[in-house]
Symmetry: C2
Subunit: 322 residues, 2 copies
């Protein structure tokens, strides 16, 4: 009897029922210009239009919603400098509880304010001397909070997979699904949903060239770390895959494409000029792989997750105005 994977299609479907009416069912965008440039039919799942501006809310809410009433009365916690911070803060507010978020003290003010704006308590640390995991765990233990990790948790992964579930419900049969890879939670959940629904689908991850830890790990057959990546795709600057996410991705991911920062910038510019939509660098990497013809062999009908749109105006202007 084959062993049951830690996250199944059924888990993703359960997550979909839980987030319904709380998370947005984000639109699927089409563009004839894009189809012509790529040479295929492309379906863009706009997670930049998700609440908090990224797919992260799906997993954070699914995980938080499964905590006991007693735990919710005590509160939840997370450590993140990125979109997961806002996602957990909003999930806490939606569930009527409180969140403590551990963030670097030099986080962009906009991110600190956005997280605080959802009612979370922010605890800052020095990213050069502090250990965010230790701080988060100590805080959680001391105050009895439930820690919601950014990807190493089956409920988080199942939640992220709902993006692919909705995409396939709307687009129908797809030959391939292209998903950005950071810690690996989005692709693990999405691949679980996609292969559960369409066993023949090819799942292609996209990493920045400087942060190809998952590609190297898949080739090596075990988790491999790379030097801390220097890339504009800050949401994908992981240096080693998660343990749980890697165990899933080893079974489910067919290939990893790599894209350079220039190609990510080109994709952000294309999204701005032609799709009129705002993508953060990590959110554009799947689109970048297609525009740079780095998905081969080329599928006929392709789903792509545009994973987020949180980028400051100045940074965006710098990249898009070139």
């Amino acid at each position: 009897m084959p062993d049951t994977p830690p996250v199944t299609l059924r888990d993703v479907q359960d997550a979909a029922a839980r987030i319904k009416g709380v998370a947005h069912r984000t639109p699927v965008l089409r563009s004839r210009t894009l189809d012509e440039l790529v040479g295929a039919e492309v379906f863009l799942k706009c997670e930049n239009l998700q609440r908090v501006g990224a797919f992260k809310f799906r997993g954070a809410y699914n995980a938080a919603s499964r905590l006991s009433a007693a735990q919710l009365a005590k509160g939840i916690a997370a450590y993140s400098s990125g979109n997961h911070a806002q996602a957990v803060a909003l999930a806490a507010r939606e569930l009527g509880t409180t969140a403590v978020i551990v963030m670097p003290e030099d986080s962009p003010r906009a991110k600190l304010e956005a997280t605080a704006g959802y009612g979370a308590e922010i605890v800052t640390y020095d990213r050069y001397t502090g250990d965010r995991v230790a701080i988060g765990e100590a805080l959680a233990a001391e105050r009895g909070l439930a820690l919601i990790p950014p990807y190493e948790h089956p409920h988080v992964i199942a939640g992220q997979g709902t993006a692919a579930l909705e995409l396939i419900e709307e687009a129908g049969e797809l030959d391939a699904l292209v998903v950005p890879v950071g810690g690996g939670g989005l692709i693990a959940g999405s691949a679980t949903a996609a292969k559960g629904l369409l066993p023949g689908i090819r799942v292609v991850g996209v990493e920045p060239e400087a942060g190809d830890d998952t590609k190297r790990s898949l080739a090596a057959g075990h988790r491999v770390s790379v030097p801390v990546p220097r890339t504009i795709a800050d949401g994908q600057a992981a240096d080693i895959p998660g343990e749980l996410t890697f165990s899933l991705n080893q079974r489910l991911v067919d290939d990893i494409s790599l894209v350079g920062d220039d190609q990510i910038g080109d994709a952000m510019r294309f999204a701005f000029e032609r799709l009129k939509t705002v993508l953060e660098p990590s959110g554009a990497s799947g689109l970048a792989a297609l525009l740079a013809h780095r998905v081969a062999p080329l599928p006929r009908r392709i789903g792509v997750v545009l994973s987020g749109g949180n980028v400051g105006a100045e940074r965006f202007a710098e990249i898009v105005a070139g």
Copy 2:
């Protein structure tokens, strides 16, 4: 017996049937943050995601598609420095005919290239010494082309009205519809559709403070011109309402709100940061009126047409990065 207006709900419905499958049925966006800021339920019709990046394609295609086969064999023409140029060029291509577009020789290169990219022939003129109407009419007469005006035509107006038709189909009962006003075609068509479907709906136009020709004209009871408006909302820089559009808007428009350039910039920034969507200044003016609390009394359920998203990267960066 009341006289029949030159454009009716039926005309808009006919236009909807004609553009189906050719124009995009653009998404309707919701935002809880926006609803909280405004204090109402707001439904955003994303015409920035329309083909050519603006609502203009609806009217141009509807008008062009009604020409005889003999006329289509000869070709069509338009004069425009803005979105109507691209709209007519694309409509011609879709209908298998050719377009000649009269554009100022100092038009932004991106606009000239985009229009040419749809296969149109560009005829340039000096905007300080040339008369685009005379040039367009002479060209049309000489070559036997059908001239498609940007708003002074019942088929163009009926086509633009399909934006409101779709919005109401999707959002259901609305108390008010907020629509940017330039030459007046979009609001004339939209008001025709909206009041035909929902007789009690309030239709509110939005003009830039510097270009309040329609507001003044409605107050005066006849068409009044204003000095050539200086505003960032280039698509709304009309100095006098159209004759046909004004005759419709006199019957159908309940009120005009005015917004300043700063408020339009704020709305573009809000759309960028919170909605992750790109709006050109004219496309943001309806949203600006709501965010600046210039729609009073405040309706409970409000539809807003985000009319376009064509803005160069540098200009966008300048406005949004503030």
